[in-house]
């Protein structure tokens, strides 16, 4: 799409790899694998996240890999379930041993109630995994100081949360994400808490490089429609960012001419 010289085809570059889509999707909690595939397809996403878990020996389910075309999507395994750096590093190594490219969405969430990322353990794990050659995409609190530390450690993105995972509450951390975007030298991907296309659009309007959603797509009667809605929301927000939003003002500024009124002066 070409709009007055601004192209939506501007690409997202992470670790030297280019992506046309700025929407990443998670594959958890869908009612069926067919619903998940439909949402992925409609979203236009090129990066999808998966988790690693023990096989249920008594009732082995199909591997998620059967349902994801890895020629088409970059598989981004996460370290969900890790409570400290050691567990996260173990999961990342297992993902690589399973044949994945060395890309890892680093998640360290010791608290099961809010699932907030542990800044200390996340940084510790990032330092180890970067040294082991992983492209590390860290899920992180929206903390601009931590963002700098992670970037110094060599992470290839920053993934601050908008709100706790699965809450659909939108950009509750907006002002801090703004500072992270202003300071970052790597792509900023807003992850977690985005529940509506307008939330995704808002993040993109602010200058986020991408967003990641899962619950918003899985938690609806029509995941495919919601996938497309998020795709459009992300595109709208990106285009608005590239166009440049007008300044906010405290008083009215007429849009129509202030001359030629049908009245006596």
């Amino acid at each position: 799409m070409q709009t007055e010289g601004i192209t939506l085809m501007d690409t997202l570059e992470i670790a030297g790899r280019r992506f046309n889509s700025r929407l990443m999707v998670g594959t958890g909690k869908f009612s069926s694998n067919m619903a998940m595939q439909a949402a992925m397809e409609a979203s236009g996403s090129e990066i999808v996240t998966v988790a690693l878990r023990r096989v249920d020996i008594n009732n082995p389910a199909d591997s998620m890999l059967q349902y994801i075309d890895t020629d088409r999507y970059l598989l981004l395994p996460n370290t969900s379930g890790a409570r400290d750096a050691e567990e996260a590093v173990r999961l990342a190594r297992l993902a690589r041993a399973a044949g994945c490219e060395p890309w890892i969405k680093l998640e360290v969430t010791p608290d099961p109630y809010y699932l907030l990322p542990d800044p200390v353990e996340t940084l510790k794990a990032a330092e180890i995994l970067v040294k082991e050659g992983f492209n590390v995409l860290p899920y992180m609190p929206a903390d601009p100081v931590l963002a700098r530390h992670l970037e110094e450690a060599g992470t290839v993105t920053l993934m601050p949360l908008g709100a706790p995972i699965g809450t659909n509450r939108g950009l509750r951390t907006r002002d801090l994400i703004n500072i992270i975007i202003e300071q970052a030298n790597v792509p900023v991907v807003v992850d977690a808490g985005l529940g509506a296309p307008s939330h995704a659009s808002e993040a993109m309007e602010m200058g986020a490089d991408a967003v990641l959603v899962n619950t918003a797509l899985a938690d609806t009667a029509n995941p495919a429609a919601m996938g497309e809605a998020f795709k459009l929301g992300v595109q709208a927000g990106r285009l608005a960012y590239l166009a440049g939003l007008g300044p906010q003002r405290g008083t009215a500024q007429a849009s129509s001419p202030l001359t030629g009124f049908l009245r006596e002066e």
Partner: protein
């Protein structure tokens, strides 16, 4: 012979190889990743490896996640 499989006690006959265990459990080797006593196993090498009393084997796969 007793060993730990995915955190639970599991019985098998002595001399069972990891390859035959996977077959018994009807798991496709290319869809799982294995860790024996906290060491990740190389997919090309573990099939003939025999399990020992007290081993801790983890069989892990990809599931949906965000």
């Amino acid at each position: 012979m007793n060993f730990q499989l995915n955190g639970q006690s599991h019985q098998t006959v002595a001399g069972t190889t990891i390859g035959s265990l996977l077959a018994e459990l009807q798991l496709q080797p290319e869809r799982v990743v294995l860790e024996l006593n906290q060491v990740i196993l190389n997919a090309n090498e573990y099939r003939e490896q025999q399990l020992k009393e007290g081993d801790k084997l983890e069989i892990i796969q990809f599931v949906g996640g965000g």
